[in-house]
């Protein structure tokens, strides 16, 4: 199949305004917004599966909801086949919603308890005015290994097991034959034994139907199973992106290194050097200039007060870290090495290299 650029995320930004109390409104006090997603760029080509990993609260789900158009974006843009989301009209939205589908994290919540499986699968077809609903629904159920279809069509979601529910959710997402499917930790609520089967199915189906996948998770092992390339997200920003193999074997950004290092190895006698991160990510409020990871980073330098640029280390491998680019030809260099004023919130001394 041809390699087509489907979805282009351009410096996407989603800030939530914080609620102000009456007093603060009266005093005209502004509050910093919550910077859930900040300056995220990526591209989705056809037949590609891209993972986004990061710890809870790093903005993964918000990124997904903005991509899905469930939350309005506050900056940057999403470009679908050349049309900008900020300029979508009604028809564009309908087309976008037909071609970009979502699988939610919690299958116990993502199927309407009052709708039979039949209705769940018919609804997208009805909305988009597609006939032969019955046939498509049966076909789709068989594809997600829920057979015979008659047995499932007239069931209500609470009568299904977790794995079966998630299969129905996958069937709903794929029944419109979309270009891109967004998956938000689709197996994290399932038993480990079911996880593997559902993952295998998802990865198999997206291959077979030629659907691109954006897979969001905190769990590197499931991501590496499904995805060709992985992006690492920290506090609303992408810090590193590379093909899966490469990212696991040669992580470059200190956060990715710590992340890879934290994958448990099922061998109690295995000796390895562990990188332990101290503290927890900050609140994504008033982050200002600078690398988001600098207060926990073992490699912290003075220059980390500046926002690092995205650098291409090798082909398809980018990272946003000051360790990896030549500051000589950039204007980002700190004027005087040691004397830049450290912020109060940041320990003044890091491990300089």
């Amino acid at each position: 199949m041809t390699d087509e650029l489907l979805l282009q995320v351009e410096n996407l930004e989603k800030y939530y305004a914080q609620k102000r109390s009456l007093k603060e409104i009266a005093l005209r006090k502004e509050k910093d917004p919550v910077q859930a997603v900040d300056d995220v760029s990526m591209e989705v080509h056809s037949n590609q599966s891209i993972g986004v990993i990061g710890e809870s609260g790093c903005g993964k789900t918000t990124l997904l909801e903005v991509l899905m158009g469930l939350e309005p974006l506050t900056g940057g843009d999403v470009i679908y086949r050349g049309t900008r989301m900020s300029e979508f009209d009604r028809e564009d939205w309908l087309k976008y919603r037909r071609n970009v589908q979502i699988i939610f994290q919690d299958p116990f919540d993502s199927l309407d308890p009052k709708q039979r499986v039949r209705t769940v699968l018919y609804e997208p077809l009805r909305v988009h005015g597609i006939e032969d609903k019955e046939q498509r629904a049966r076909e789709m159920l068989e594809r997600v290994n829920l057979g015979p279809p008659e047995q499932f069509l007239s069931k209500y979601p609470p009568q299904l097991s977790g794995g079966e529910k998630q299969r129905v959710a996958i069937a709903r997402a794929l029944i419109l034959q979309p270009d891109v499917v967004l998956a938000d930790e689709p197996v994290s609520m399932l038993d480990v034994s079911t996880q593997a089967a559902v993952l295998k199915l998802l990865s198999h189906l997206t291959d077979e139907m030629g659907v691109s996948l954006i897979y969001i998770s905190h769990d590197l092992s499931t991501v590496s199973y499904v995805c060709d390339s992985v992006n690492v997200m920290y506090l609303g920003r992408l810090v590193e992106g590379a093909p899966t193999e490469r990212l696991i074997n040669e992580p470059q950004h200190p956060y990715t290194q710590a992340l890879i290092n934290s994958i448990p190895i099922p061998d109690p006698y295995h000796e390895r050097e562990t990188i332990e991160l101290e503290g927890a990510p900050r609140e994504p409020i008033g982050l200002g200039e600078g690398c988001r990871f600098r207060d926990r980073c073992p490699e912290r330098m003075d220059i980390c007060e500046k926002t690092p640029l995205d650098t291409e280390i090798s082909e398809h491998h980018q990272t946003a870290c000051h360790l990896y680019y030549d500051h000589e030809d950039e204007s980002t260099q700190v004027s005087t090495g040691g004397e830049s004023q450290p912020r109060e919130s940041v320990p003044a001394d890091g491990d300089d290299q």
């Binding site: 309407d112 009052k114 709708q115 609470p158 709903r172």
Partner: protein, 307 residues
Amino acid sequence: MGVSAIRDRISSSRDHYIWEDLKEGVLTMVETRSAKIYLGFLLFVLLLGLFGPYIAPYDAEERLRGEGGELLRSEPPSLDHPLGTTNNGYDVMSRLLVGAQPTAAAGLLGGAIIITIGATIGITAGYVGGWVDNVLMRFTDLVYGIPILILAMVLLTFFGMGFWSSVVVIGLILWRGSARAIRSQVLQIKERSFVKAARATGASTPRIMVKNILPNVAPMAVLFLALGIGGTILIQAGLAFIGVVDPFVPGWGIMIRNAHQAGLVGSNWWWSLPPSIMLSLTVVCTFMFGREYEKIASGEQTFAETK
């Protein structure tokens, strides 16, 4: 519309959630004994409302005379008159049977008005949100401030003391509680991911309100329908007792009023007690039936699992 489209519509209406909910719900409810009793009594009242006038032993509007031609005033219960007669010679049993009809009709109409307005406002306010929510809810607050008995009395005195108008006035005010409660439930439901999934497939706001939100607030709507029926019957009977409602529609409230006006509530117990008891039982049963229904239908388990 082609044949297949029609067939599709029929089959989709057959497994419509309301039909399913009702069928399964009633089947499940009948399994608990208390619900069986409530439902049985309500059906009994409904049957009385339908057939009461035909099974009444005497004409409810006829003043009965004894063999000697004198009026049968305040006769205590006997075989001829199981519930005795009134001070004007009407048969109490017949009036009670005939009176079921206006009482049941008042309840059903009032409940229907209440839940229609309440659910529409509650779902719209909750799901659409923003200024729509603000306007609708402030309007609801405003209606909350209206003392219902007094407004009803004023309206009815000015615009005629009709029976149906009294029911409509009650319905136009009593929806306020259901609107608030349903809105708060909609606020929870709209954050659930199946609603987001519906939005993500491109379903329009009205479509989501009808197809996803309404079915999920249906159990609560049924509860409020029951509360509305009970409330309407009670308040309507109250208005009848006060005397601002058409006295020639012989509801149970009017019967109590007549007994009271004759000053015979205490002595002619066979006249005053039966309508009071029937009223109380009907209202209690509607309330309790609604509660039972809500308990089952809103539980996380489905009907199928409780079976």
